[in-house]
Symmetry: C2
Subunit: 388 residues, 2 copies
DNA sequence: TTAGTTTGTCTATCCAATAAACTAAGTTTT
DNA sequence: AAAACTTAGTTTATTGGATAGACAAACTAA
């Protein structure tokens, strides 16, 4: 039985977390506010706040307005008490951010990735991350961790089991990075960190259950269920891109037939554009064509929108989420996709499940993943705080 | 902020729950065993166990073996300290059980349901349940609750929003029953309670993430994720029967096209049997034919197995569960379905997701739902104990 | 017998939360 | 401006759990 048993330390940790959370959410606020908000006794709040001030996570920022009594001392979270690094490892680029503990971006860098072998990538990644770490200002906690999103399957130990577009198999990335930097490292799938990013900083703020659909060359998905990222039994789930929507459709490289991503991804778009002789084989050229009003291109985007809708209807029926967020490169085609996507979803999903659902596009654009990677490092830091 | 704050009462509730759980799981065992198992101090365990004995949930049952010291006093859970009623409301039947708090069946009843209007069903259900309640032996907690599984969509308030096969819309069943009996009542979808039943008492014992697929006239599903029944934002999720597996397939009554249940349900089987002139239009007749070795019938079952496999592959890719459990009437056709179902699933699902997965059939047969209904009443009782 | 072992209880102590009293620092009323 | 009131935050004594360690009880083995 590894269930943690209850003792006083647990209570203190819980209540400290509650206090910190209310500072994070509602700052600036006073000790009295926290007491009223949380139901904790004023004395308890005072004591816990003092601990947080001592540790450097919270500070007093002067007094607020009074309505006939002593003025409250306002508190705020010290976002600069620590920093996190987020990395989005793409197929031909690396993007990195250095953020404070509230997710405020201090620094952002991008680099090309001309070769993708694990060794070569690591050779680029290491100085790339080191530069971000080095730029972090002095702070109470320093750099609290590194989060990395990768385009592939990642196991619970942070090994990249399979990343077809990088040509990786069984690359122990977490091991390598945490050894190199001596910092906590979290590796996760690009769609999973994208989901975290959009939920924390983007269109999914405050939403409890949300499915993030990363539509790039393939389709990946991140599932936020009951406010938590859902991972399957083995740590990888949500391969909704390989949900078959045509049982007898064309074979997919995954072994299944008629996978959703064969119909609704950027790759699908480009393949069909090539067949029809549209554009120059890039998303950009097609977007430009659509912008100029080319009817065939617009019809093609509408088709992709419809295919997206077919899959989204499935998602809605399966998960009954509060929101579905479309991200990654294809979200740039929103104007030409959205209408048909929504129409198809609404005509296909169960009525009861459509009530109150929101079909959104990523707010963070191509930064969903990198921000989510940073956020996962931040939240891991808070989790460590809570349990120690 | 409604987060419950931590105080000593919380500690005690937590630790009491931990102790009770270890008694439930590992009885018979001694106080010393519990202390070793849970990490709680011997004194703490003694005190909590005494409380549980006083409340009637635990009792001493004599001494055990010693290996050179004082003999341990063995404890066990008093299953007969309370009783629960489980009801499986079908389209033309009602099945009910009275169980003790461990889920041991004390009494089981079935009745026909000739008419399905809410009033008529309630007229039958009320005395049916009353009889079960009346038969419960005297006990410390009495009948702790009533769980009901229904073939339809149920909202969080226990209202049946939509049950096409009963012809129900917006029937406040929980209200009606809890008013009639003055007991806690839980209403849930048949597949959800079936999932609970199989997980607690059937083939899913001890499994953390499991998808229960109820294949009857339609296909319903219950999702056990991270040891909990997953319900969507609005309380209904897991309509995997209406996952489209042929985007351009035939229209389904749900509004979508090519839904899984159009290919893999009992209804699909019977429709195709009728087309082919096989059997007398019942599952029983087809099973008999297959038993006798009729090749066309067997091929038909194999086809259904393949269609089941297509959907299961999707499930596996989406959820990466530890197990998929096939239940309800179609599980009776296991001998004629299983091979093709497994073959199709394995050829279509992602390799990584197949590792260690188990494709099982319901152990409880047609009692998955009724047992799960009782279990949901029992676990609600324990939950109440824990929070008060 | 005697020594050693294991179970379970008892006792003193610790610690976090709390209520209530109190101090601090304001605003409003007269 | 003094008195009365308000609100913020701290101090103090109390409460109620968990705990370590001492201890008693009950056993085995030699």
């Amino acid at each position: 039985m590894k269930t943690p048993t209850g003792d006083q330390a647990l209570i203190k940790r819980m209540n400290t977390a509650i206090v910190l959370e209310s500072v994070l959410r509602d700052a600036p606020l006073s000790r009295a506010d926290i007491s009223a908000l949380t139901g904790l006794n004023k004395a308890t709040v005072s004591s816990l706040v003092q601990d947080l001030i001592d540790s450097g996570l919270v500070r007093e920022i002067g007094t607020g307005q009074s309505s006939g009594g002593r003025k409250p001392v306002l508190l705020e979270f010290v976002a600069e008490s620590g920093y996190a690094v987020g990395v989005d490892l793409g197929v031909n680029y690396v993007r990195g951010v250095l953020t404070d503990l509230r997710g405020g971006v201090v620094l952002e860098r991008t680099a090309q990735l001309p070769r993708t072998s694990p060794e070569e990538v690591f050779g680029i990644l290491r100085p790339f991350i080191q530069a971000l770490v080095d730029e972090a200002p002095e702070s109470a906690f320093g750099v609290v961790g590194i989060g990395v999103g990768v385009p592939g399957l990642v196991d619970r130990g942070g090994s990249v089991l399979y990343a077809p577009n990088l040509g990786w198999r069984d690359v122990p990335l977490q091991d390598a990075l945490s050894r190199a930097f001596g910092l906590p490292v979290l590796i996760d799938n690009e769609a999973n960190v994208g989901a975290i990013g959009e939920r924390q900083f983007g269109s999914g703020r405050g939403i409890g259950s949300m499915i993030y659909v990363s539509v790039g060359m393939g389709i990946g998905t991140g599932l936020i269920l009951q406010k938590e990222l859902y991972k399957g039994a083995a740590g990888f789930s949500g391969e909704l891109g390989h949900l078959s929507i045509e049982a007898n459709g064309p074979a997919c490289r995954c072994g299944n037939r008629g996978c959703w991503e064969l119909y609704a991804s950027e790759q699908a778009l480009l393949a069909r554009a090539a067949e029809a002789g549209l554009g120059e084989g890039t998303l950009d050229s097609l977007l430009a064509l659509a912008e100029r009003g080319d009817a065939r291109t617009r019809a093609l985007f509408a088709d992709i929108g419809e295919s997206l809708g077919v899959g989204i209807a499935n998602i809605v029926n399966v998960f009954n989420p509060e929101a579905v967020v479309i991200g990654n490169t294809m979200s740039r085609a929103r104007p030409w996709l959205e209408e048909e996507m929504i129409r198809t979803t609404e005509s296909r999903a169960l009525n009861f499940h459509l009530r109150g659902i929101r079909l959104l596009f990523a707010e963070l654009g191509d930064r969903s993943a990198v921000m989510g990677a940073a956020e996962s490092a931040i939240s891991a830091f808070f989790k460590r705080l809570r349990s120690a």
